[in-house]
Symmetry: C2
Subunit: 217 residues, 2 copies
C-alpha cells in the first residue's frame, strides 16, 4: 500500500466512507462508481477520487470501485485490523453507554477492561467487560499492553487522571471528559469527543438557517 | 457584524477558540496576541488572523485581541445568545450523561424537557429536567417551539424516531444514535456525534505513530 502523509480532513472522511461501504455490502452491492458513492455521501466524485488517490489506487476508470476491496483497504488504513486493546476508565453514564451500546469490536478494538472508584461497581461485569478498582490501574498498565485508554471520568478528576495515565506510559486517549488534557505540542495522542463543540456547530447551522430564512423562526 | 459564508472548517474551530477564551477570562487575561493564542491552540498566528477575518475585525494590529469582546463575538456567531430551546429524546445512559453532566446552559441552550418510553422514567426529574412519555411528544411539538432535538434513542428506533420528528416539523437534530438519519441533500440539519468516526480517527493516528516509530509497539 502506498503510504503518503494523509491530511486530517481525509482521515476524518474515511470512517464515513467505511460506514457507507458497510451499508452497501449489507445491501449486496459489490461495485460502485465515484458518482454514486458521492451522491450517498454528499461529496463530489472528484473529491472522492482525490481522497482515494491519497493512499493508492482503488478504482479502475470506468468500472467503479470494488466495494469489499475498498472497504478492506480503508479498514486497514484506519488500523482496524491491528487488534488494538483498550481499557475504559470511569463507568458512569458515558462509560456505561460505551460498554453497553457502542460496539468496539465492530471497529476492530478490543475493550478488555474497565476501571472505576465506585465500590458498588468494582467486581461487576457489564456486557462482558469486568470493572476493576482504579487502584489496580498502575499495576495493570505495567503488566499489560494497552493501545488506547477511553477516559470517561468526571471533569474535576480529568486532568489528574490523564497525568497519571501519561506517567504510566499511556500514549493514546479517547477523551470524553470535555476537558483539554494536553497542550497542542504533546506527544500524547488525544482524540476529543467534545460534546460542546458539536452542539455549538449545530447552534451555528441553526442560526445560519434562521438568518437566511431557510428555517422559519 | 459582517456576515460572509464561513467555511465548515472555521466553524468547527470556533468552539475551540471559545473554550480557550473562557479559560483566559477565568485566568484574568483580557488581551492576547494571535501568536499567544496560536500557541495555546496549536494554530499559526496567520491561521488565527485569517479565521477571524472571515467574520469581521476583532483585533488591532500590534495590540492583540480583546479577550471578552472576541469571546462575545464568537458566542454571537455560534448563536449562543439566541436562547434556543432543546428537548431530549431517550433517557438511557447517553441521555442521562447529557442531562446530568453536560451543561447545556453554559452553551446558551435551554434543555427544557426529556422524553422516554420507559414508564419507570416517565414523571421523574433529573437535574431539573422532567421526563415525559414519548406518546406526548407530537402534541408537545405542536404546542411548543423547539429549536433542537437531542436524539439519544437506541439504534433500532433511530430512523423511525427521526422520521416522526421530521414529520412533526423538527428541523435540527443533535444525533447520538450512531445512525445516519437523513440523506446528504436533506433540508434537516443533523449534527452527528458519531463515536465510531472519532475512535477510528484515533485508531489511525495510533497506527501512524506506531508505523513512524513515534510510538513503541
Amino acid at each position: 500500500m502506498k503510504k503518503e502523509k494523509i491530511s486530517n480532513n481525509v482521515i476524518r472522511r474515511l470512517p464515513r466512507y467505511l460506514r457507507r461501504l458497510d451499508e452497501l455490502t449489507d445491501a449486496g452491492v459489490s461495485r460502485i462508481s465515484s458518482t454514486e458513492l458521492g451522491q450517498l455521501l454528499g461529496f463530489t466524485p472528484s473529491q472522492i477520487r482525490q481522497d482515494f488517490n491519497c493512499f493508492g489506487e482503488f478504482g479502475q476508470q470506468g468500472y467503479g470501485y470494488n466495494v469489499p476491496a475498498l472497504r478492506e483497504q480503508i479498514a486497514g488504513i484506519l488500523g482496524m485490523d491491528r487488534g488494538y486493546k483498550a481499557v475504559l476508565i470511569g463507568v458512569g453514564h458515558i462509560g456505561r453507554a460505551l460498554i453497553d451500546n457502542f460496539c468496539f469490536s465492530e471497529w476492530g478494538i478490543n475493550l478488555v477492561q474497565a476501571f472505576d472508584v465506585d465500590t458498588d461497581l468494582i467486581g461487576k461485569e457489564f456486557s462482558g467487560v469486568h470493572v476493576s478498582s482504579v487502584e489496580d490501574l498502575t499495576a495493570y498498565l505495567k503488566k499489560n499492553k494497552v493501545d488506547i485508554v477511553v477516559l470517561a471520568v468526571p471533569r474535576d478528576v480529568a486532568l489528574s487522571t490523564a497525568e497519571m495515565l501519561i506517567d504510566n506510559g499511556v500514549h493514546a486517549i479517547w477523551n470524553f471528559t470535555n476537558v483539554e488534557l494536553v497542550e497542542p505540542d504533546s506527544p500524547v495522542i488525544v482524540e476529543n469527543v467534545h460534546f460542546s463543540d458539536s452542539l455549538l456547530a449545530l447552534s451555528y447551522y441553526v442560526s445560519d438557517a434562521y438568518d437566511s430564512k431557510k428555517l422559519k423562526k
